[in-house]
């Protein structure tokens, strides 16, 4: 039985990797590939970040430092190859260099900042972030200010016939690194160090009384997390052939925090989920609406208030039901559908309202929401969407209580099963 299950897992793995390998044949446009590459890079970054936030319980506002500075180092190496300083350096090992830079920086900054935990730690990281961002603009010789640095990745010796000119070669490079580093980070969570990270997160004092220097655990977690962030930064630099000061900034740190948190910090797969969905949203929403940062903020706040375990948490919540009594899921289906409809109502009403308000600031009176063109001069439209929003709120409230009642019943049912 157990081995069957294990094989099943393996098949799934292979299927997944197979799909990922064939993705460039499905989506040939360079934009889609760039997007996949970005996702790959951010998956590494956010899983690395979650090593700190989710696994060790350290909130950092400065993780972009390792991402960005490793990116700068890599781009310098890349232009070193461009300028024939070390023409035989293969590009696919640049992430190793980035990882090393990240590790070194994490080692030093981690030594200073892991003396503290909680809010104090968060603020030290914020201080470092602001410091480094300011320095990137001041030390022009290394950072080249806000212009950042450009390099050409089609350069040096072509190992294995890879030139990295076409985007899909970069895709495979990133895919390889993504699988490789996520796998290592996953395995790390299974080691004594990984377990003790969780232990330190849950209860420092107890961790000391099973013989561990908690500071050392935090320091190690910090350095290793910075190391993987560095590898991600390096890949970022290869993907865009450019690195700029915004990649070390607070905004970048905030982005990875959003990804990890919305995806779910409590689960190893959460940040992956977060990185994929937020990268996608980021690209698509910013194309559709100017108010996308507002929607981002609202989603984030709602996740914190109502789903602190993130998207992964919402899905994994059903784990006990599926494990014990999958038939109960049917009971949940109807409330879920209603809840979904209510949310849809609210989203449509609210976003249209926001777009209407937004349009008042521009000189156009006609705007497009959800494929319909409406005019912000029409009073009825306003009333309609206000009503829709209110309706949505009421429906959400009501179906939330309903769903919760059914949910509680289901959980109660399962608990009864436990006792028997």
């Amino acid at each position: 039985m157990y081995s069957l299950k294990k094989n099943y897992k393996l098949i799934l793995y292979f299927f997944l990797i197979f799909t990922l390998l064939f993705l460039p044949f499905l989506f040939t446009s360079s934009f889609a590939l760039t997007l996949f590459c970005k996702m790959g890079v951010l998956i590494i970054f956010s899983v690395a970040y979650n090593m700190l936030l989710g696994q060790t319980g350290l909130l950092s506002f400065g993780h972009a430092i390792y991402f960005g500075l490793a990116g700068y180092a890599s781009i310098h190496f890349l232009s070193g190859i461009n300028n024939n300083y070390f023409p035989s350096l293969p590009i696919f090992i640049l992430p190793f260099i980035g990882a090393f830079i990240g590790l070194a920086l994490g080692f030093v900054i981690g030594y200073l900042s892991t003396k503290r935990v909680g809010t104090a730690f968060a603020m030290i990281s914020l201080g470092f972030c602001e410091l480094v961002t300011a320095l990137t603009l001041i030390f022009v010789v290394f950072f080249n200010g806000e212009d950042g640095i450009q390099a050409d990745r089609v350069t040096g010796n072509n190992y294995f016939g890879l030139t990295y000119g076409p985007q899909n070669e970069v895709y495979y490079l990133i895919l390889f690194w993504c699988i490789f580093s996520v796998l290592i980070m996953y395995l790390l969570t299974r080691t004594p160090f990984g377990r003790m990270c969780n232990a330190v997160r849950d209860n420092q004092q107890r961790a000391e009384f099973v013989g561990y220097d908690v500071r050392k655990i935090r320091w190690m977690a910090f350095s290793l997390s910075a190391m993987f962030a560095g590898a991600a930064g390096s890949l970022h630099a290869i993907n865009y052939e450019h690195i700029g000061f915004e990649s070390v900034s607070l905004a970048q740190s905030g982005m990875v925090l959003f990804m990890a948190y919305i995806g779910g910090v409590g689960n190893f797969l959460g940040p992956i989920l977060g990185a994929i969905s937020l990268t996608y949203l980021d690209t698509m929403l910013s194309d559709m609406t100017e108010a996308w940062v507002l929607y981002f903020g609202i989603i984030f706040v709602i996740v914190i208030a109502y789903a602190p375990q993130g998207l992964a948490g919402l899905i994994l919540m059903h784990d006990p039901i599926i494990r014990n009594k999958p038939s109960l899921l049917k009971k949940l289906a109807i409330p879920y559908v209603f809840f979904g409809i209510s949310i849809l109502l609210l989203v449509v009403g609210f976003t249209s309202l926001i777009e209407l308000i937004h349009s008042l600031k521009s000189n156009h009176s006609v705007l497009k929401v959800y494929w319909i063109e409406i005019s912000n001069q029409n009073f009825l439209i306003w009333i309609m969407f206000i009503l829709l929003t209110i309706l949505g709120i009421l429906a959400c409230k009501r179906s939330y209580t309903q769903t919760k009642t059914v949910w509680d019943e289901v959980i109660e049912d399962i608990k009864l099963g436990f006792i028997k």
Partner: protein
């Protein structure tokens, strides 16, 4: 087990969503305008998009170009370099062959470098970059490429214009350089020092300050104290945004009388924050035209009127207008919509200025050259500056013409033509 289901669900959902990509369309000439439309720099991007869109619509109103209309596709890069790269690739995927951009030199550089690689790897599918406002000098020097055309004067030219005007102003004796500490400000400072020494040796540089850029400095009093103690009578500054208007306001509060020479001090987006404080000290800027010139020819008056109607503000730059006009002439001249042919036609092309001055695209480095005007900000003359439905009751007064020769500089560009 569950974990894999999550992965699969996401993956397929995502594949489905991405599959709904747009298909290329023919018909209008699409020009992607990549600017920041959200985040702290959104105002800059919106202003550029407004003028670009309006200028293109004027071309369309007059029958388009060889029967085809121009369609501006605004794209939001949120002032992030990586987004610019993504959007550029997206634009190329969508079959767009022309890019225009201006907000943020780092983004322009990004586009130039990306296109340089793309164009050399994809002959026959080249993409042309019409740079409307990014001013870093190197774009038309060591970083110059065939498919990049700049329709704004670069930093060196602007500084040359300022210095040229300054050298004629005998009240300027001691000048204080006040700039932002990043590539642009540093270039400004370096060029200003060099040109002042070369072209106006009688003017002494009594101070040289680089401040933390992008509005990080809240309190300008310490800097003003330094300017005051240095005994400067003029401040030469490239500052823009909050770094410019906070400085102007703080100068007014301190009562320090100095002349201000700059490029972007009087950007309309910041005027609301300064108001009449701008008039406390003489503010001199250099521009390609006078936005409040009441003697402009009637065709321009009409253009201006339309701009105000469409956007609610007086055009602050004339370059978008002649950029599209020259683009149109280039297509008509080459009788082709191919970026390569258009690029060849644009080389050396002359444009139409408002008051009969010269506008010419230098073929050597694809840098536009024009006669500049030194403008002093003053109380309202016949026509005042409008911005987003506010009337500032101020006007520009021409205090000197700077002939094109004064700002024509050597270029180190070695253009590789396909």
């Amino acid at each position: 087990m569950q974990k894999f289901k999550i992965l699969l669900i996401t993956l397929f959902g995502f594949i489905y969503l991405t599959a709904c990509e747009k298909k290329e369309s023919t018909g209008p000439i699409k020009i992607a305008a990549i600017e920041p439309l959200s985040g702290p720099y959104a105002a800059v991007g919106k202003d550029i998009i407004d003028t670009v869109t309006y200028s293109a619509s004027v071309i369309n109103k007059n029958g388009g170009i060889n029967g085809r209309m121009i369609e501006i596709v605004p794209m939001d890069n949120a002032m992030k370099a990586e987004k610019t790269t993504e959007l550029l690739r997206k634009a190329i995927d969508d079959g767009i062959r022309f890019i225009t951009q201006g907000g943020g030199s780092s983004h322009a550089l990004n586009i130039i470098k990306q296109l340089e690689k793309y164009n050399s790897r994809n002959p026959g599918k080249e993409v042309l970059f019409l740079n409307n406002s990014a001013v870093t000098t190197s774009f038309t020097n060591e970083d110059c490429t065939f498919f990049h055309f700049r329709f704004d004067s670069n930093v060196d030219m602007k500084v040359a214009g300022l210095v040229s005007h300054m050298s004629k102003d005998n009240s300027v004796k001691k000048v204080y350089l006040f700039n932002q500490n990043y590539v642009y400000g540093q270039t400004f400072r370096k060029t200003a020092t060099r040109m002042l020494e070369k072209n106006a040796p009688r003017i002494k540089i009594v101070g040289d300050e680089l401040i933390q850029p992008f509005g990080k400095v809240q309190d300008f009093n310490p800097y003003i104290t330094k300017i005051k103690l240095s005994g400067a009578d003029t401040v030469l500054t490239g500052n823009w945004g909050p770094d410019a208007y906070r400085f102007v306001n703080a100068l007014k509060d301190s009562g320090l009388k100095v002349k201000l020479f700059g490029i972007y001090i009087s950007q309309p987006a910041g005027m609301a924050a300064m108001g009449k404080n701008l008039l406390f000290n003489d503010v001199v800027v250099v521009k390609e035209f006078n936005p409040t010139n009441s003697n402009a020819p009637s065709w321009y008056k009409e253009f201006e009127k339309g701009h105000i109607e469409a956007t609610g503000w007086t055009p602050d730059a004339d370059r978008m207008r002649f950029m599209f006009e020259m683009f149109k002439s280039a297509i008509e001249k080459s009788n082709s919509f191919e970026p390569k042919d258009i690029a060849y036609a644009l080389e050396g092309m002359e444009g139409k200025s408002i008051d009969g001055g010269k506008v010419v695209m230098r073929a050597d480095d694809h840098q536009i050259h024009f006669d500049m005007q030194a403008l002093l900000l003053s109380e309202k003359q016949e026509q005042s500056i409008l911005y987003r439905n506010q009337d500032f009751d101020m006007s520009y007064v021409n205090v000197g013409n700077i002939p094109m020769e004064d700002i024509t500089l050597d270029t180190s560009c070695e253009m590789k033509r396909p």
